[in-house]
């Protein structure tokens, strides 16, 4: 029963991760987007914990705990603070409207499935069938970074991308070694902090956090 | 949504319960009566169409208050509807102005029988301070048959409820209408 249930559960949780990415596309307000990211990370942490329990790996359990701490608590806090500091901004529409974005993302998911289905089939792990889902998350994260105008949303796109890569590693090999994962977490944290500082800078200089305005910096 | 649900969870029901021991005894007593009468006459279901025949909108504010959680008209099986076709009761406010006399008549005719008319406010009773104005035709009763007049400028929501009750009383005869004209279809 457990052996049967486990892959189903993994796939379901992976899909929830992807679903959170989709909702992030639809969502307009920044605070909601940050909360969605927290939800996505929480799902990911749960997934890591489930796999840790299934494989009885203490290392992976540690990674899950670290992930929960960092991405569910710390980074959302930092980002929420940034949102509060920036204050209300006039709505910046993405380059593509919601229906068009949904169509593009639907296409990306299809492509991801198409490309990764053979990879998943050749991988012997029971978690492998969710690999295409994780890859779809990577593509969508990329697309969000391209499509959104706000620096903060781009950070979210980056974080989602990172989440998806973590998911991919988790599914394909039950996660990379503990020490590597910790290093990545540290990098992500530092990156977020630096970008936050950058946002304040952009905001101070341009009174806006739309990335388009950076074009004015050209000599 | 989470914040909203938390808020809902922590906010109590503010509608005044029908049980005694409330500070506002007047409305409560009346509401109980409306409850009982409405049940008998309209089977505990009364749909109201509001007609502003030239009011200053003071009465509308009070009528609007009937819908809020405090008075919560809906708990008596009454509610406001969007078309006279759906209505059992017309709630008319204001001195009837020239431009609204005809629409008021048409609204009355458009409401299916049995129906009751409640004129709300001093203006609806006798044109109030607008009496004799060049744009005013007369009180509501000059245009359509009125069952009850509720005085006040503006009347309180309690009084309006009382008025609806009184109207139900006077029209007590048409409780059940049997098929009269023509087959069903």
């Amino acid at each position: 029963m457990v052996a049967e249930l486990f892959p189903k559960l993994v796939t379901l949780l992976s899909f929830t991760v992807l679903g959170a990415a989709f909702l992030l596309i639809v969502r307009r307000d920044l605070a909601g987007q940050v909360r969605l990211f927290a939800v996505q990370s929480l799902t990911l942490a749960v997934l890591a914990a489930v796999i840790a329990a299934f494989t009885r790996s203490i290392e992976l359990a540690g990674v899950a705990a670290a992930l929960a701490l960092l991405k569910v608590v710390v980074i959302p806090r930092v980002l929420t603070r940034a949102v509060a500091k920036i204050g209300l901004q006039p709505a910046a529409l993405p380059y593509l409207g919601t229906p068009a974005t949904l169509v593009v993302c639907g296409g990306l998911v299809t492509i991801a499935f198409y490309v990764m289905a053979p990879v998943a089939a050749s991988n012997p792990l029971p978690t492998a069938e969710a690999i295409p889902i994780a890859f779809a998350g990577v593509l969508i994260g990329f697309f969000v970074m391209i499509n959104r105008r706000r620096a903060l949303t781009q950070i979210l796109g980056f974080l989602m991308l990172e989440n998806s890569i973590f998911l991919l590693a988790l599914l394909a090999t039950y996660g990379v070694p503990f020490i590597v994962e910790m290093g990545v977490f540290l990098d992500v944290l530092v990156a977020v902090l630096i970008m936050e500082v950058f946002i304040y800078r952009i905001k101070e200089n341009f009174d806006s956090i739309e990335v388009d305005r950076l074009g004015r910096l050209k000599g | 949504m989470r914040a909203l649900l938390r808020k809902i969870w922590t906010t109590p029901v503010v509608a005044e319960p029908l049980a005694p021991a409330d500070d506002d005894r007047q409305i409560e007593a009346m509401a109980r009566q409306v409850d009982a009468r409405a049940q008998r006459l309209f089977g505990r279901s009364l749909h109201i169409r509001e007609v502003d025949a030239g009011s200053c909108n003071g009465c509308e504010l009070e009528i609007g208050a009937l819908n809020n959680p405090y008075y919560d008209l809906e708990r008596f099986g009454m509610h406001f509807v969007a078309s006279p076709r759906h209505a059992d009761c017309l709630l008319v406010t204001g001195p009837v102005t020239r431009n609204m006399a005809d629409p008021l008549k048409r609204t009355y005719d458009a409401t299916p029988d049995p129906k009751i008319v409640v004129a709300v406010g001093d203006c609806a009773r006798d044109c109030g301070i607008f009496a004799g104005g060049y744009g005013v035709v007369g009180p509501v009763s000059a245009i359509v048959p009125v069952d009850v007049v509720v005085g006040g400028c503006p009347p309180t929501p309690q009084l309006i409820l009382a008025g609806i009750l009184a109207a139900l009383d006077r029209r007590g005869t048409f409780q059940r209408i049997h098929p009269t004209d023509g087959p069903i279809a």
Partner: protein
């Protein structure tokens, strides 16, 4: 034979008599969430009874279509109630048609209601008809793709069979495609039954109306039939959602005990969905008409993803 008749009778009674109760429940929960006491759950019965006792005022402009439509609406809903698997996976009249037939029966009702909206020559009615048809047309692809997803999953489009497969293979319910199809179908159900955020059933503003605008002209027994039919449609959609996607408690064999359990399960599931809808309606605002395509295309994307996931993730 007697069991068959009994089951169909119970189904008819559940749908026909349960519909006002469901509407009352949703309203009651909404009122409670708004801090009000609200009317009792039995209020819609009183409303319907009162409407029956009133005369009908009919516009001089209208034709027989206006008077015929309420009867047709009720007839299509009752017919749907006969062929939907509410209690068992051996619905006696299930042979009348599969899920596509059901959707077309609903469309038949919508078609005539839209005509009736145009019949009185009022601008409101026309507006309602035009919007209702737009929503119905845009919801249609999602429905069919969701059906395709189910066909991929169970290899069948028979309602009974889909429910039976779900009830016997519980792991199937955990597949992502299943949940995606549920979400897509749920959004469509909201659109088809005129609930928020697509349409506000409690609005008084003609300009924001969809379904209500079409029935502004109706009164008396006609209005009663239309409101009853609307309640039945909501009930059938919720029952479909609960039995197709969460077929717990549905009787696989036709024994009195199993059917009784199925009745209780159905009431619980539909009640839970009704409370969910009431909470959703409290939390979200009505979407602007021209934002609806975004919502419906979102549901379409979900349905398509369900298909994709069933194709790739076996």
């Amino acid at each position: 034979m007697i069991t068959k008749i009994a089951i169909e009778t119970i189904q008819l009674l559940i749908v026909g008599l349960g519909a006002p109760l469901l509407v009352g429940l949703v309203r009651r929960v909404k009122a409670r969430l708004q801090g009000r006491r609200g009317a009792g759950v039995l209020q819609p019965y009183a409303d319907l009874r009162k409407l029956l006792a009133k005369e009908a005022v009919v516009s001089e402009t209208t034709s027989w279509i206006f008077r015929f439509t309420p009867y047709l609406l009720v007839a299509t809903m009752l017919l749907s109630a006969l062929l939907v698997p509410l209690l068992t996976t051996r619905t006696p009249l299930g042979f009348l048609g599969n899920i596509i037939v059901l959707m077309y029966l609903f469309l038949l009702g919508t078609f005539f209601l839209a005509l009736a909206g145009l019949d009185a020559g009022s601008a409101f009615g026309g507006m309602g008809s035009s919007r209702e048809m737009a929503v119905a047309a845009l919801a249609e692809p999602t429905v069919m793709i969701a059906i395709f997803a189910m066909a991929l999953r169970v290899g069948n489009t028979e309602l009974d069979e889909i429910v039976r497969r779900g009830a016997t293979d519980s792991l199937l319910l955990l597949t992502p495609g299943h949940l995606l199809a549920f979400l897509a179908f749920f959004i469509v159900a909201l659109a088809e039954t005129g609930r928020l955020p697509v349409d506000n059933p409690a609005t008084h503003l003609e300009l924001t109306m969809i379904h209500e605008a079409m029935v502004l002209e109706y009164s008396g027994r006609y209005l009663m039939l239309i409101e009853w039919a609307a309640g039945m449609k909501l009930l059938i959609f919720l029952a479909l959602l609960s039995n197709l996607f969460f077929p717990w408690g549905v009787a696989l064999t036709v024994t009195p005990a199993a059917v009784a359990v199925a009745c209780v399960a159905l009431v619980l599931k539909v009640g839970a969905l009704a409370v969910g809808i009431a909470m959703l309606e409290t939390a979200v605002a009505k979407l602007r008409l021209f934002r609806l395509p975004a919502l419906l295309s979102g549901s379409f994307a979900l349905a398509l993803l369900a298909v994709v996931s069933f194709l790739f993730v076996k």
